[in-house]
């Protein structure tokens, strides 16, 4: 501990010699959250790191596994492949998404809301959906197979196309946020100075979105390099790091090598994450209090071009989802195009059956409920507790880690940690709780940040006033904080729910047959060659996520009237 913290401690105790009951309770909570993060995150990752330096019998072998990895071309070639895919996909996604975001925030085209809604649709689908859809669009029996000529969709082309579909909304949301913080005064200046549109773009617009752009680039890069679903479905012979982990562990039962590949995959993910955090810290100061919001003006020709652009992208997205939807109703592609519900008869398919869908619903509901409670409470303690700075700093840091850890890596780490015979927590191995816990851990960061943002908007006076009125903090928490933060809390729970419905990567190593999930069933059905039922299962997931989103929108509206009235005058 540094001198400074000691000093702050000393001064704190000088002013307030005795910690109140509230302080003790809060500190206990903070320790509880810290312990939770250590058990569900740090210890599993540690087990994985140590496993990568062990042989099959568990003896320490130092870097021997790594040396074996780098002397096997079949394995380390995947590093190149992963980077190639990630870079190409990032360039394409960012180009497409920045134009789209620019149009939505800076032009006057009609139906902006509709376009934005469509563009966010891929968030509702598991990442294998585009892969499956491309089989029907561009595969040997694909309806549009002439479009790609003699090239095969099974390989880098398919992967890149799928990744663009899957990462587009993620990039779009960041970029829209970046474009909408523009300061209109700068644009007024360009008009006065008669700067050309192009020059304006390069001297005002681009620098304005710089940080958002960088952030979007790294987010997309990380998503692509860690994604498993798309390369699994449509990658063919093109090996990438994420599928290698799966192959090593599931195909060859080589857990040690799986751990090595995980560490290799962890490095670029952590780097990208570090850069992103660094950049985000800079962005905060961008908007000053005196800035004037930019208001787009109509432009006849450009708006037409923009509209066509949005239509093309929107149609592509709907087309991809629609193709999977259509294929899921076709009896026997391509020889019997009669429509039927045969592919939805999941109980006779290898992979999990309808029960896996109900498991998914349960898992997503538990994740949303417990995850929101844990994460929001944790964020509250970190933000509002007094003193205890060192511990709070550590927790804040721990909360950021999940963002940098690929799901497959986390899942594998859980096997090593929770299935260790000496671990008393091993009783949850192979059960629903471990799926819920890993999913909460996997999606912790974004939820935590959402909660922090909402809490930071609240005046600390609430706590001070309640303290002076001798109201215990948890009453303030339940009666004031929670209702005021309700929109954020609902956002967190919906985020957790939808991600729990669609995730494959972390849970693929942890499910048991009783707890198979819909997304995993889809993956396994595709693996066994039952592509149409896999498409059907994906559509069930999309429909569920969409339904829950609509419900959420209605709920938020109702709730907002009740709890957010204070925001209006």
């Amino acid at each position: 501990m540094t001198d400074q913290t000691l000093q702050t401690r000393a001064t704190a105790s000088a002013i307030k010699p005795k910690l109140s009951r509230d302080d003790w309770v809060m500190r206990a909570f903070i320790l509880g959250i810290g312990l939770w993060l250590v058990v569900t995150l740090l210890l599993p990752l540690y087990s994985m790191l140590s496993k990568s330096a062990q042989n099959k019998d568990g003896a320490f072998v130092g870097l021997a596994n790594y040396i074996e990895y780098f002397s096997t071309p079949a394995l380390f070639h995947s590093i190149n492949n992963s980077f190639f895919i990630a870079i190409v996909s990032t360039i394409i996604t960012i180009s497409l998404a920045s134009v789209f975001a620019f149009i939505l925030s800076r032009s006057m085209i009609p139906f902006k809301g509709v376009f934005k809604g469509i563009a966010l649709l891929p968030l509702l689908a598991p990442s294998l959906l585009p892969g499956i859809s491309f089989v029907y669009l561009f595969g040997r029996q694909g309806v549009l197979k002439d479009w790609i000529g003699d090239y095969s969709i099974y390989g880098p082309i398919g992967i890149v196309m799928g990744e663009v579909f899957y990462t587009f909304p993620h990039a779009l949301m960041i970029l829209i946020a970046a474009f909408s913080i523009a300061d209109a005064r700068l644009y007024e200046a360009t008009v006065v100075l008669r700067t050309s549109r192009i020059r304006t773009f390069f001297t005002v617009t681009l620098p304005g979105i710089k940080y958002g752009l960088i952030s979007a680039i790294f987010v997309v890069f990380t998503l692509v390099i860690t994604d498993f679903g798309i390369p699994k479905v449509i990658g063919g012979q093109y090996n990438v790091l994420a599928t290698d982990i799966y192959k090593q562990v599931i195909g060859q039962q080589n857990f040690e090598m799986g751990a090595v590949v995980s560490v290799v995959l962890l490095i670029p993910a952590i780097l990208a994450f570090a850069v992103d955090r660094f950049v985000q810290r800079k962005q905060v100061a961008m908007l000053t209090a005196r800035a004037v919001p930019y208001e787009p003006k109509p432009h006849a020709l450009l708006d037409k071009i923009f509209f066509v652009y949005c239509c093309v992208i929107g149609l592509a997205i709907i087309g991809i989802i629609g193709m999977a939807g259509y294929a899921s109703f076709v009896t026997f592609w391509p020889y019997n195009l009669e429509l039927s519900l045969n592919n939805y008869d999941f109980d006779v398919m290898d992979g999990g059956g309808w029960s896996s869908f109900y498991n998914s619903l349960k898992m997503a509901a538990y994740t949303a409920i417990f995850g929101t409670v844990i994460i929001f409470t944790g964020a509250y303690m970190v933000e509002k507790a007094k003193g205890f700075k060192f511990m709070r700093g550590i927790i804040q840091f721990l909360c950021m880690i999940p963002m940098a850890v690929p799901g497959m890596v986390l899942g594998l780490a859980y096997i090593f940690f929770f299935n260790h015979p000496d671990n008393p927590l091993g009783i949850i191995y192979g059960t629903m709780p471990i799926l819920v816990i890993v999913t909460i851990a996997h999606f912790y960061t974004v939820s935590h940040l959402t909660a922090m943002t909402a809490l930071k908007q609240m005046d600390p006076e609430f706590e001070t006033v309640s303290a002076s009125l001798k109201v215990p903090f948890f009453r303030t928490f339940l009666k004031v904080t929670v209702p005021v933060c309700m929109p954020a809390i609902l956002d967190i729970s919906i985020y957790l729910f939808v991600n729990a419905m669609t995730t494959v990567s972390a849970v693929i190593f942890l499910y048991s047959t009783d707890t198979s999930l819909a997304s995993i069933a889809a993956l396994n059905m595709d693996d066994a060659g039952d592509v149409a039922p896999a498409a059907a299962m994906c559509m069930v997931i999309v429909a569920t996520s969409a339904g829950v989103r609509v419900l959420h929108a209605l709920l938020t509206r109702g709730m907002a009237r009740k709890t957010q009235a204070w925001r209006k005058r």
Partner: protein, 340 residues
């Protein structure tokens, strides 16, 4: 106070997590790779004779179930394995995970279909035989002749028209590779695969996928196994199931009790039942070749000559050299990724 609160929080967390996983004496956790559509039937038939033993299936593909069993080695969750590749069970046997128990009547089984040790560690159920699924419609479109032998498949006319499973992840893929090495000799086998590799469009993770892809016209020729081909054909796919003339590799689905099971009595009853004539008649509904001599009747869509085409498979050799073969295979074919 602090610590008491902490313990109570932890207890609360543990309470929510704890899930009753204790099985009663009459329940068996059965790991299997048998096709999902058959599981209910298998359990029902068994329950006709043993109504008080409840089967809880844990089903996944061969590779995953094997990985699961190995991962749980120190802490086994399964009581018994019913329907997993014999080569996988041999692997588990080497790890000392199987209970030595000769089921009642084991001597009646074809010696090929049981462990040579006494008492046996595993007993076979049925054979799962390599075959080539050939899509007549797509082959005609592409102008491909009908292949009749493994060697035919290396002809340049089939370039990019063949799919086979990756032996590193698929049991079917491995039995193909091991059969070629046994048929053509070590050197000849690898030379054969070099030639075949030129024609392979891609390798799949699972063994049934090549046949299902062929059934769906995604590829004209899928190297897979006969059972899958027959099933797809029954669903109306324009498939021909070809048994290459040189002979075909095979593996068997087999049963073994996991050492350390708490339900040994019930597990023994299931192991006994799994080799009865009645059980073999049940296996025969899908598989043309079963362990109990004299039971097998022809299965619809199954190539009739398949039993005679099965090679004399040296499982001990295959199990012993498995690791080396797979490493060599990976070195030769897995590093080569499509430039396109």
């Amino acid at each position: 106070m602090k610590s008491r609160l902490l313990t109570s929080i932890l207890a609360g967390v543990a309470g929510t997590l704890a899930v009753a996983s204790v099985a009663s004496a009459a329940e068996l956790t059965v790991y299997t790779a048998v096709e999902a559509e058959d599981l209910k039937k298998y359990a029902a038939k068994f329950n006709e004779d043993y109504p008080d033993i409840k089967i809880n299936w844990v089903r996944d593909s061969t590779g995953i179930i094997t990985a699961k069993l190995l991962a749980e080695k120190n802490n086994p969750k399964a009581d018994i394995v019913w329907g997993l590749a014999a080569t996988s069970l041999m692997l588990l046997g080497e790890e000392g995970m199987l209970e030595a128990y000769s089921p009642k009547g084991v001597e009646k089984l074809d010696p090929k279909f049981r462990d040579s040790a006494n008492p046996t560690k595993w007993t076979g159920m049925d054979a799962w035989v390599a075959s080539v699924c050939y899509n007549t419609v797509e082959a005609k479109k592409a102008g491909l002749p009908v292949p009749t032998s493994w060697q035919d498949l290396t002809k340049p006319v089939y370039k990019n028209q063949v799919i086979m499973p990756n032996p590193n992840s698929s049991g079917t893929g491995f039995l193909d590779v091991s059969s070629w090495l046994q048929l053509f000799g070590e050197e000849g086998g690898w030379k054969y695969m070099d030639g075949l590799h030129e024609n392979i469009a891609r390798y799949t993770h699972s063994g049934s996928k090549p046949c299902k892809l062929a059934a769906a016209g995604e590829i004209p020729i899928g190297i897979s196994f006969a059972f899958r081909g027959a099933k797809s054909k029954a669903k109306g796919a324009p498939l021909e199931i070809i048994v290459p003339t040189e002979g075909v590799g095979w593996d068997m689905e087999a049963t073994a009790i996991i050492k350390g099971t708490k339900n040994l009595d019930a597990a023994k009853k299931l192991a006994d039942w799994s080799i009865t004539k009645k059980a073999n008649e049940m296996y025969n509904k899908g598989y043309a070749v079963v362990a109990y001599p004299g039971v097998a009747k022809p299965v619809k869509h199954f190539p009739p000559q398949i039993a005679t085409a099965m090679i004399k498979n040296d499982f001990a050799w295959a199990a012993k050299n498995r690791k080396a073969i797979l490493a060599e295979w990976q070195k030769r074919y897995d590093s080569k990724s499509d430039p396109k």
